[in-house]
């Protein structure tokens, strides 16, 4: 949430997109997140995705709530308007903004606390309304800004940094979105840029709400033995615990490029996550199959990633409301006010 801008030094040979912008033009303020945070990798992927799409920055709006994830809206596209609203309420603010101006690209960034606890209702209803927006959940299973409480995506049995075990079942945003009728559902990993960037691009261009759940490890509060949602059972060996007041400087976690159906990613602490990529021949337009696939992966202690479901024919909020094509903010007042003649005619009905 800093306003420190990055130095505008540019390599002269940086490639330009269709608008003549380099990737640096899509960057924002310096991140204030912990070094090695998965969220910064998501931001980097977003920068790349928007640059590759040649999105005019001022035609995009970055929307967020409260939390580590929500802060990242300041860290990219400084020439875009941004709205850091209140905790768990990004979906309603975005719904309103989209109602008023349907022509902007809305990039909503939320986290597992923001969307699965305090904002679960808002997430659900934005999905039902099918507001045209990219909806990212930077999912780390933990409340970072308040120093390490469980979030609603933490798995049963995973432990906090203090050793306390989580006893409540997790909420899986992917299964939830599939159940609620979402028209675009994907999951990825913050360290897998190769998979993430195309998903983000597809999500931005989707005509409806595109939900992308991104497993994004918290290096400070969820990077120890017994932590994380589905990480625990795939852990291969013990690692050193990290002290609460010490933030280790680490390199971000990068997923090895592989074509294998399951990729094993080594986390900061040496634990592993197995990402089940969508199998060949997988039909991402079959909601039932998508649900079954995610559940089957879960039962094998794997995390299903990739573009899991898409319905390109779903009607967005404006199609359902039959709103005019021109953004409402651009309608001249003359088209909104019926005038005194109509009022006097109307008054006859009140006599």
């Amino acid at each position: 949430m800093t306003s420190i801008t990055k130095p505008p030094v540019r390599h002269p040979g940086l490639p330009k997109n269709a608008l003549g912008f380099t990737v640096r033009d899509y960057e924002g303020a310096m991140s204030t997140l912990c070094a090695g945070c998965g969220h910064d990798s998501v931001t980097a992927a977003l920068v790349l995705a928007c640059w590759e799409l040649a999105l005019p920055p001022h035609r995009a709006a970055k929307m967020s709530g409260i939390g580590c994830s929500s802060k990242t809206t300041a860290y990219f596209m400084k020439q875009s308007h941004g709205f850091n609203s209140v905790h768990g309420r990004m979906p309603s603010v975005t719904s309103g903004a989209n109602a008023a101006n349907r022509d902007l690209h809305y990039i909503g960034i939320s986290g597992d606390g923001d969307s699965l606890s305090i904002g679960l209702g808002q997430l659900s209803h934005a999905i039902r309304r099918n507001v045209r927006m990219l909806y990212l959940i930077d999912n780390n299973g933990v409340y970072g800004l308040t120093k390490g409480q469980f979030s609603a995506s933490a798995d049963i049995g995973s432990t906090s940094k203090k050793g306390e075990a989580n006893l409540q079942p997790p909420i899986d945003p992917v299964l939830l979105a599939l159940t609620l009728g979402a028209t675009f559902v994907a999951r990825s990993f913050s360290g897998d840029k190769a998979q993430l960037v195309p998903i983000l691009k597809a999500g931005i261009m989707h005509n409806g709400l595109a939900l992308v759940d991104i497993i994004s490890p918290c290096v400070t509060f969820n990077d120890h033995e017994g932590s994380t949602k589905s990480y625990k059972f795939t852990r291969e060996h013990e690692v050193e615990l990290v002290a609460a007041d010490f933030v280790p400087l680490r390199r971000e976690v990068i997923a090895p490029e592989t074509d294998a159906a399951v990729s094993v990613v080594t986390m900061h602490d040496g634990s592993t996550v197995r990402f089940r990529r969508t199998p060949e021949g997988y039909d991402p337009t079959d909601r039932e199959a998508a649900y079954a696939h995610v559940r089957a992966c879960q039962q094998r202690n794997e995390v299903a990633t990739g573009l899991l479901f898409i319905d390109e024919h779903g009607q967005d909020m404006h199609a359902v409301s039959k709103t005019v094509e021109m953004p409402l903010v651009e309608l001249p007042y003359e088209q909104l006010c019926p005038g005194n003649g109509a009022l006097q005619k109307l008054m006859e009905g009140f006599r």
Partner: protein
Amino acid sequence: MSGINDFAFKIATVNGTGSASANSLLMQAIFRMGIPVTGKNIFPSNIQGLPTFYEIRVSKDGYTARPPDVDLVVALNPSTYAKDVATVRPGGYLLYDSSWPLEPELVREGITILGIPFGRMCVENFQGDRDRTLLRNIVYAGALAALLEIDMDIVRQMLVEKFSKKKKLFDANNTAIRLGYDYAREHYQCPLPFHLEKMNATSDSIIIDGNTAAGLGAVYAGATVGAWYPITPSTSLMEAFKGFCEKFRTDPETGLARYCIIQAEDELSAAGIAIGAGWAGARAFTNTAGPGLSLMQEFIGLAYYTEIPAVFYDIQRTGPSTGMPTRTQQGDLMSLAYASHGDTKHIVLFPCNPEECFYLSVTAFDLSERFQTPVFVASDLDIGMNDWMCKRLTWDDSYRPDRGKVLGAEELANVKKFSRYLCVDDDGIAPRTLPGVHPNGAYFVRGSGHDKHGAYTEDSDAYQEVVDRLTLKFAAAAKVVPEPEFHLQADAHVGIVSLGGCHAAVLEAIDRLREQGLVADYMRIRAFPFNESVKAFLDSHAAVFVVEQNRDAQLRSLLAIETGMPRDAMVPVLDYGGMPLTAKVVITAVADRMAQVLA
């Protein structure tokens, strides 16, 4: 005392049995006879089976407050007989359904009891339970037409208008009206001593409820985004907006809507939608009541601190908590004025009737965009849901919305560094930009501490600079919000201060007090923050009465806090049982107090 065109009657029925249409038929017929009339619907918070009442006041002098006395009660609900009989004024009348023997509760000395076998006549003349139940209401309307001398040509004309395409229904209703009318004429001396005579006092008036007028006002103000969560008594406001939008805002060629209404999952979301739309540049609003207002608090603070326009209608009902959802009150004054945590102050407008709901809606949107802040319209159940006789609404076609200081693409092209909260004028208002217009206008909205450039800050001075400017902005608003309405008289003994729906009762009380030799000046406050003239009025009256509908004298507290007037120097006149205010409450309070003072 009652007389020609000056009386009140009350109909006691069970809700969900179709009495509402008969009651509005009666009221409208009286209105069309050119006689000033008001209706108050006292209804329960359920759908079917509980007692409901409709009070109609006829007043040749144009008094529209709830009547002080009831001259005639139509008692059709056995479960409330005893209470209903007690509400008849001494010497008044009671009309009951004589299909069954007279209930002992109905017997009372000093009133005249009239029986008409409504139920039996319906059984004899109509088929099926549904028709018999529904038409019983029309039969009593017919009886009242005879007893009160309602013009039957007008009643017939109204039935023609209502059932022009449904001949069967017209015939049934026409028969029912005649049944009641003829029975009353054959068995009783018609009309009663108090009754109707045609006047010409309503030709420039309409009958409308405040929520309908407010919804219409939002259309004329150019609002395009409405967000809401259903809640009594505000629901009909958005329904009205929707209806008028469908009529006036449907593109004639494509059939597409020039508006977007979102029924949200709760009031938090409704507030968020309105604020998001306001940020994006639309005129947006939400409508709610007390419980919804409580839920919206966090968002209200966000809009205040980040300076985003949005209009909030609060149709107040009886609190606290769920309270009495179908009863009226002015209990949200304090929570509106200072809504949300931290230092916050808001512009609040107080319409006194449906007519003002229409005009102040437009003012609310203008003020909201001009001052880049949430603006509240504090209506209430009595204004919002009851049918009031008001002056016909008119519109000035030269009106254009005040969009405030908004930088367009051309201006932004020359801006090197846009600072969102940098203000160079003395009104405390910094120019804003809208998303999507120009890259130079981009900024980051944050509810967290920010400096004048919009950047995050934890620096005391940078933080204070912004919140101090908000104070300046609020002070500037006090100069342009609607002035109070003053009714001043020579040699006034006392000053009365009130607001909103109390207005009609206070006006009536002032007339009665003058007859008693007590001359009162009157100031009806129309907006918060208070204009300078509010303090001047308080200062210039030795005795000040503050009339309002809540337990804790909230308006008095606001006046004390904001004007510095000592709280105890103002005498509270409070009525908070949930019913619309009657003049009697004001007369008694002022007269008693002044008698004490003089003694």
